[in-house]
């Protein structure tokens, strides 16, 4: 695993060094986001496995580099639009990421006769617009902390993470898979429920940063006011809200597994395993929370 991480890091860093020698180190840091490996580096493998295809190594590597760049671009764009950029000058790197992503995708698109590049470009542009719309929607939500609509929330969350759909469109075109609806639904649902889990885990940081997630807005709209941090603590930990929200994430992820299984036998084992591990971890956390409640109830 460590060797894989090192290999993943090296070839992404090499691509950055070749293209942007002066900025490679800082760009790479933005790609990893403080984690061990670049964000999104595993996603091409997940998509391949979901649709049941295996690309040739050269195309696969180019797509990995392009996808890591587009993921970094999406993260940075989100932070710029959100006003939570660590360093304002980092917005300079949006162009670096987007151009390298397009360059790598073009290298695959123009050398593979299977791809209808006009069609792919039009889908790509549509997804970019959908992402912009999702960011606008999130901004609208932040300025109206008492509004809550699960349907709009879903659109906003999946639109903000639709780089995985761009990846799916690209890999599917290389593998002749015309019907992608079922896989898209899996990716969208997965992104949505993962985000709900993140919102529950990060509610305090989000609150302090005035970044009112769907979870917080749902609580504010219930009380028709912005609660204090202490009130939120009591509301979340002393009622059934924590457990109910964790349950919602578990049920959503379980349903995503069913959707993966419906794609086809043997498809999506990698993502299924990741989701199953995730569900187990959430169950352990729920058990710990309930155990604490039982303990203080008995003393």
């Amino acid at each position: 695993m460590e060797k894989n991480n090192a290999t993943n890091n090296e070839f992404i860093l090499d691509a950055l060094r070749t293209t942007y020698p002066k900025d490679a180190e800082v760009l790479f840091k933005l790609c990893t986001h403080g984690l061990q490996q670049p964000l999104g580096v595993d996603h091409p493998q997940i998509i391949q496995d979901l649709i049941g295809t295996k690309l040739n190594q050269s195309e696969f590597k180019k797509i990995q580099v392009g996808y890591v760049m587009i993921t970094a671009y999406y993260f940075l764009l989100d932070a710029v639009a959100d006003g939570h950029l660590e360093d304002n000058l980092n917005s300079l790197y949006l162009t670096h990421f987007l151009t390298l992503a397009c360059q790598k995708f073009d290298e695959v698109i123009f050398t593979n006769p299977k791809i209808d590049f006009k069609n792919f470009n039009s889908t790509f542009q549509q997804l970019v617009s959908e992402n912009a719309e999702a960011i606008r929607l999130e901004n609208k939500f932040s300025s109206n902390p008492f509004t809550f609509s699960e349907e709009e929330e879903y659109s906003s969350i999946v639109g903000r993470s639709n780089s995985s759909i761009i990846l799916l469109e690209l890999i599917a075109s290389l593998s002749d898979r015309t019907n992608k609806y079922d896989v898209k639904e899996v990716l969208r649902d997965f992104a949505f429920f993962v985000q709900l889990g993140d919102d529950l885990a990060d509610w305090r940081d989000d609150y302090k940063a005035h970044k009112y997630s769907s979870f917080l807005r749902e609580l504010f709209s219930k009380h028709s006011r912005i609660l204090t941090e202490n009130e939120l603590e009591e509301e979340i930990y002393l009622s059934n809200i924590f457990e109910s929200r964790a349950l919602k994430v578990i049920k959503g992820l379980e349903n995503t597994i069913k959707k993966i299984e419906a794609i086809g036998e043997g498809n999506g084992n990698y993502l299924k395993l990741l989701i199953q591990n995730q569900i187990e971890k959430i169950k352990v956390l729920m058990t710990q929370v309930i155990e604490i409640k039982l303990h203080f109830n008995n003393v």
Binding site: L200, D202, V249, T287, Q288, K293
Partner: protein, 60 residues
Amino acid sequence: MENQSNKSIAQNLVDRIIADNDATKIEELIINANDSKKKNIIASIKKLDMSPLSTPVACS
């Protein structure tokens, strides 16, 4: 011993919550807790590592 028993009760409760798709029964656990117990519950939950709720493959 008590810890082990609480853990197993909590595990059963989680299984039931998931099977029934209903977490409302959890409220019963703290309905009689006094302020001091409530403070202790919050303080202990705050110490838990919530990162399992976040997924490393998250796209956003």
